[in-house]
């Protein structure tokens, strides 16, 4: 009788394992960020690349910090993120081949439309941040070592404010992705810094509005790097390089440029 039980288990197991085996196609793994994924950019451009090359692209979308660490472990063929200093360090450490600029968009400062700190329309982002700090109105930070978080900290460093001292007070580190942080900001009526693509695609804006934009320092550059196949022999160098080349090609660049959401272009190609 136990045999019958074991048999039933084994049968259900083999059924489950045998079920839809992945099509045996060539694929590469791209470590990327939530902003590119959640904005829908990949859904727009990847089918074109796969159609031309037959190479499927699997995207792991995490914060830039985690994406870089995963790639440094060799868990990915291509790194596609937005934190230039960290990307250059990644290459310098021998984890990646050459880094290429791909595209940019910009960060914006969002906050409750009632704007209790009174920063609406300001063009100096650090002055706006300082005013938020002075008013001690809640500010929701990613706090997750992501590209956006790194960019935000670079801006705070240009103000006299010490956010690490304000942490837990008006400065709230969510430790979460961009979307989760925007949900929190929306819920508590906090200010937050986000990339424009995620913002446009974000569906739960609530009472949040863009309050500050257009400062040159809000520039958000994306880069692409092939993970070093000499350091990590499992890296699919040829297919990965094909993807990098395509992204930087005229075709790839125009595919990026052609992606719009609600009538707005989200990313601006600038490969050299």
């Amino acid at each position: 009788m136990y045999r019958r039980m074991l048999f039933a288990m084994a049968a259900s197991l083999s059924l489950a394992v045998a079920a839809p085996a992945m099509a045996a196609e060539e694929f590469i793994l791209v470590q990327s960020t939530t902003s590119t994924q959640n904005s829908g950019l990949f859904d727009h451009i990847l089918p074109q690349f796969t159609g031309e090359t037959g190479i499927a692209v699997r995207v792991v979308a995490v914060g830039t910090g985690q994406a870089i660490r995963n790639a440094a472990n060799g868990d990915g063929d291509v790194l596609f993120v937005h934190a230039k200093p960290a990307e250059e360090a990644f290459v310098a450490e021998g984890n990646g081949m050459a880094r290429h600029d791909v595209m940019y968009n910009d960060f914006v400062l969002v906050g409750p439309s009632s704007d209790p700190a009174g920063v609406r329309g300001m063009t100096d982002v650090t002055a706006a941040l300082a005013r938020i700090a002075e008013a001690e109105t809640p500010f929701a930070s990613r706090g997750d070592d992501s590209g956006t978080h790194k960019a935000e900290l670079r801006l705070w460093a240009q103000t006299p404010v010490s956010v690490s001292e304000a942490s837990g007070g008006w400065y709230r580190e969510t430790g979460s992705g961009m979307g989760a942080t925007l949900n929190i900001a929306s819920g508590m009526g906090a200010y937050a810094m986000t990339d424009r693509a995620t913002w446009i695609a974000f569906a739960n804006k609530g009472a949040l509005d863009i309050l500050v934009e257009g400062d040159d320092r809000l520039f958000n550059q994306y880069g692409i790097i092939l993970v070093n196949p000499e350091r990590h022999p499992n890296v699919k160098a040829a297919a990965g390089q094909a993807f990098v080349d395509w992204i930087l090609s005229e075709e790839g660049q125009s595919a990026i440029a052609s992606y719009t959401l609600e009538g707005e272009q989200l990313f601006f190609p600038n490969a050299k």
Partner: protein, 232 residues
């Protein structure tokens, strides 16, 4: 909430192939993980529950403590093991459904084993003298106890299923939430939440709840039919 229910029914009715693929992958990953956990956890729990060996109390304590392992920690452990720079990197399992099955198996096995230990220990209390009198050998004892506890063990397996099907932390880390490859119900819900699509996320949650209801109802029906046939 009612909106979410309506939207969930709409989702199901639409027969969206992507949704069905996600539902099926969720079921495949979780059911496989639960089956593996049962294959490991039933005998392990029964051995701890019915046999007397040095360190038994320690093992029982460890199993109970492991029940509380956070999924994220399990995900991290499995990630480090399966990463290209980890000990099992050469297998190339990271970011595949197999990695998710492994993570959920690690997560669920302690639950199955710990609950099985309790069930079997209680049953052994009734049977121990009879078994000793008949001279039943230890492996036959374990087999007999497991078989006689089979309906209680169905509930144990369901507890494991509930834990696995609902967790997001482990499968997100080792699966990567890759569209059409490792995207399951919970990671989809997390993704839609991060996109701010709260209503869609809630509707998917309702679909997941229905899935859990169906699985539970099926198992309960089996159990009741069998109990009516009166072996309980």
């Amino acid at each position: 909430m009612l909106d979410a229910l309506v939207q969930a029914l709409g989702l199901i009715a639409s027969g969206d192939p992507d949704l069905w693929a996600i539902v099926l992958l969720s079921l495949r990953v979780t059911l496989t993980a639960v089956a593996l956990s049962c294959i490991i956890g039933f005998p392990l729990g029964a051995a701890v529950g019915a046999l007397r060996f040095p360190g038994r109390g320690g093992v029982a304590l460890l199993l109970n403590a492991l029940m509380g392992l956070p999924p994220v920690v399990v995900g991290l452990m499995v990630y480090l093991a399966l990463s290209a720079s980890g000990p099992f990197g050469v297998l190339g399992l990271l970011y595949t459904p197999t990695a998710m099955i492994i993570a959920q198996t690690v997560l669920v096995t302690p639950i199955i084993a710990a609950l099985t230990r309790q069930v079997v220990e209680d049953l052994d209390g009734q049977y121990a003298e009879q078994f000793a009198s008949l001279g039943v050998r230890w492996h036959d004892r374990i087999a007999a106890l497991l078989w006689d506890a089979r309906y209680a063990l169905l509930t144990v397996a369901l507890a494991g299923f509930g834990r696995a099907v609902a967790e997001v932390g482990a499968v997100l880390i080792v699966g990567g939430n890759i569209n059409h490859v490792t995207r399951v119900m919970t990671t989809t819900i997390a993704l839609e939440t991060s996109k701010g699509n709260l209503h869609l996320a809630l509707a998917l949650g309702v679909v997941l709840l229905m899935l859990a209801l169906i699985v539970n109802a099926a198992v309960m029906a089996v159990r009741q039919t069998a109990e009516r046939a009166a072996y309980a």
